[in-house]
Symmetry: C2
Subunit: 332 residues, 2 copies
């Protein structure tokens, strides 16, 4: 079917190595030879088989992009940034969807069969073991949106979720609320735990302010809505830090439906600053997560690791910042 190097060589009347060299940069070929080969290649419509060459070079330029967040719109942006960023560097993303997969083994085996040069795990809910499984298999790995660790075993790029929790708490205090709530995502996710502990740590410095907490069972609109409806029934706090923007929007919907208004009756601060948060009919005050920087940095780290697979694991944390919109009362 496809044109091979051998055919080009025959047509150009040169050796196979000569053809190979004109298509590998850094190889020594005379101008005359290059012209001859390129002419023949063009006539035949030849383009080299990346997979065959990977066999000898040991490089496929394939990068496994592993994720389980196919329901949070923010991940569409993440995929957009990753795919473009990788493409720009001549790398190809091989997408792996872990939605109904709990065991890393399978994905590890599959990605090894395809000899990926590296793996990016893009998820805030997958446990660190997942990324570690790849490292143990000898594959360079970056865990994007992963949990910061003081003793990282793999490269992690993300935000400081504990600090985000503190930041949200500080903001609610600053605004003068005297009863605040933490409404987290799934309790098992490390990101939820971190945000929770940061939030509570900060609140413990304010014993005069009442702080309560609860957890929604998913990072989804419905879960946020359900949880807020439940809270409203049982005497809610004055303002909530919601585990993420989608949850926040669900909560907003519940507040609205109950005939209450935000921020007049209940305040909400989210996390992520997804595109939708700035839509005028949502206008969510939230903590901005620098997605673009996280993705860019992850890719840079991956590229660096392709050069030096033994590179010492590092953690890159990007600061978040509050975006003031309309779902918290002005404050004092």
């Amino acid at each position: 079917m496809a044109v091979t190097l051998k055919e080009v060589a025959e047509r150009a009347g040169v050796s196979r190595s000569a053809v190979s060299r004109t298509f590998t940069d850094g190889a020594s070929v005379s101008d005359k030879m290059r012209r001859k080969v390129e002419k023949a290649a063009k006539e035949l419509g030849y383009s080299p088989n990346a997979l065959a060459s990977s066999l000898t070079t040991g490089r496929t330029k394939l990068i496994g992009l592993v994720s389980n967040n196919f329901h949070n719109p923010i991940f569409l942006e993440v995929f957009d940034l990753f795919t473009r960023g990788l493409q720009d560097r001549g790398l190809r993303p091989l997408l792996v969807n872990l939605t109904d997969e709990t065991d890393p083994e399978n994905s590890v085996r599959m990605l090894r069969q395809y000899s990926v040069d590296g793996v990016v795990v893009a998820s805030s809910t997958l446990p660190p073991e997942f990324a570690k499984a790849f490292r143990d298999a000898g594959v360079p790995v970056v865990h994007s949106f992963g949990r910061a660790s003081s003793a990282p075993q793999v490269h992690v790029v993300g935000i400081d979720n504990v600090e985000c929790g503190r930041m949200a708490a500080r903001e609610l205090v600053r605004r003068g609320y005297t009863h605040v709530g933490f409404m987290g995502g799934p309790e098992g996710a490390s990101s939820t735990q971190d945000r929770y502990s940061g939030f509570m740590a900060e609140m413990s410095a304010h014993p005069d302010i009442k702080a309560s907490h609860s957890f929604a069972d998913a990072y989804s609109f419905d879960a946020g809505r359900r949880e807020m409806l439940r809270l409203l029934k049982n005497g809610p706090a004055q303002a909530y830090f919601c585990g993420d923007d989608v949850l926040s929007i669900g909560a907003l919907s519940a507040i609205d439906d109950s005939g209450l208004s935000c921020p007049d009756n209940i305040g909400i601060i989210g996390l992520n600053d997804m595109e939708m948060a700035q839509w005028e009919n949502i206008d969510l005050t939230t903590i901005h997560q620098p997605i673009r920087q996280i993705v860019t940095s992850s890719i840079e780290l991956m590229v660096a690791m392709l050069d030096d697979p033994e590179r010492y694991p590092e953690t890159r944390i990007f600061p978040c910042s509050i975006v003031e919109r309309g779902t918290l009362k002005p404050g004092i």
Copy 2:
């Protein structure tokens, strides 16, 4: 680094072919041999190199997944369904982001270099030429969410956008509106054109009802909002068929901000039925696009084509239906 077939063969004290055969199903190996090989393989942690074997078998099980819709949340669902569906059949999606790419040539070349077995073009805005470029290169291709054609040159799976336009028009008529509007997405997209022509065709049967039209410059919240604000200033229609749900939600926001209300002052019907459309604070009446069926069918078609690349091109159109929610007045 990785364990090779040769090492397994040596350890098991058998020939390389024997090892190869125990890992290819349908090959003849005795039970004794199989056990010996599997033992050695397990001890060494061997798993076959899919790329190397693709060299001789001519099959990589890689499928190019090409898209340019990285801003419409509905595509997150599309990616989710595609990646899982492909994975379930042992195929691997190689993601290609065409956002800033206009020329098919590049993508075609790249995907050929990686010897993909087939390509799925998932986009309602890419021109048919894009898909055709792959077909011309001898790669099986399915255009999902593509335009129905009476003389298809490639396999197309999608909806009948003309009929959707008619359907929306009929619904607005049925509801008793006497001045209706078509607010399309980007004028160049074939999906927009089809929805427009269907809408207008239906309206031409109702000369008593005024029908106007305009186009937003993107399928985005902002574009929908901007366009609706403009329309509101210049004397709007009573109800609009918006090119897509995201546009609709932008329009809703504009209506809300202008102190008007939907559906009391202005009605809206969208298209797609994205997850968000059913959120209680949006509650958008819209035309449901059967995404799941489209994706499933696309994958089936792709699998069929892997068996028979010469398969005669076919068009699969799935019917859409109206989901009644709260953004149109009840009607007569």
